[in-house]
């Protein structure tokens, strides 16, 4: 155990360097204007990479039992599911907006 931890320590500055580089890349990726889908995939990917580095090395999740790591990952997956579960609400609102506009137009034309 002691030997293992001894090997982990010099990595801290290396992880720090990676986190700084990934933050710089994130800002560089975010500033130009282009497709929000590609931007979203890139940014969420980079953020997940940074989150992994912090959890695995700074929070020592790599040195803990694997079961703990699996338990910790679960809420993140549930959060993704949460967004998907809210989707019907989002699409309903935009569908209502689409539905209302032509309806009022036809009413107006009937009045004429």
């Amino acid at each position: 155990m002691a030997e293992k931890e001894h090997n982990e320590h010099p990595r801290y500055m290396f992880i720090f360097l990676w986190l700084a580089i990934l933050t710089a890349i994130e800002v560089a990726v975010a500033i130009p204007e282009y497709s929000i889908v590609i931007k979203g995939i890139l940014l969420i990917g980079l953020a997940c990479g940074k989150a992994f580095l912090v959890a695995a090395y700074f929070m020592h999740l790599k040195l803990e039992k694997r079961t703990l790591a699996l338990i910790v990952i679960t809420p993140f997956l549930i959060c993704v599911f949460l967004v998907i579960m809210l989707m019907p609400d989002i699409t309903l609102e935009s569908r209502l907006a689409e539905y209302e506009t032509p309806a009022s137009e036809t009413q107006e034309s009937n009045e004429h």
């Binding site: 800002v27 940014l43 929070m59 079961t67 703990l68 910790v72 809420p75």
Partner: protein, 216 residues
Amino acid sequence: MEQATTFDHAEDVYEPSLTPDSLGKLGMWIFLIGDTMSFGALLAAYAAVRAGAGIIGWVPPDEILGINLTAGMTFLLICSSVTMVKALESIQKGNVGRMCDFLGLTILGGIIFLGLQAYEWTHLIKHGLTLTGIPEHGLSGDLITGSNLFGPTFYAITGFHGLHVTGGVIYLIVILRNGWTGRYTAEYYHEVEIVGLYWHFVDLIWIMVFTFIYLL
């Protein structure tokens, strides 16, 4: 060690803890898992509100929020995470003085972060981003229109995170005080490790908030 002696007479029913070296660590992990869900719920609600803005639309965040300052704040939190692991590393080697120095630096990082956030909020409120409305002009000077929900979601999420940083700073000050009284040694350092878990979690959440609220 204590556990092993307690369960000596019931070896057949003994099940090792998920974190055998410290039960407090397991407790903190359970708290953090719950906290992930509160931030997850806030961010999911943000996604729903933003995607559901419909024809009113959502102002691009970079028209209202300055990214450069926040990128600096992100970097600052990453630095304070590094000083936190350095503090833990020091006490594991038995160097109490060095641990206190690094804990002090971590607290300083947290306080500067809060100061910058207060500066940012004051600036945004003066600019017109309130709980009920958005500024008339964007940072580029153009007229902007969009959902009024930009303000409340922004202040709720960054405010909730700021509250966590405030709590973390107080928590760290308590641990630093304990360190000064000589509570921690090379054998007894788990309380430092546990405050570290909390602090890194706050950093991790900021990485997510920075991405979803400021950059996307």
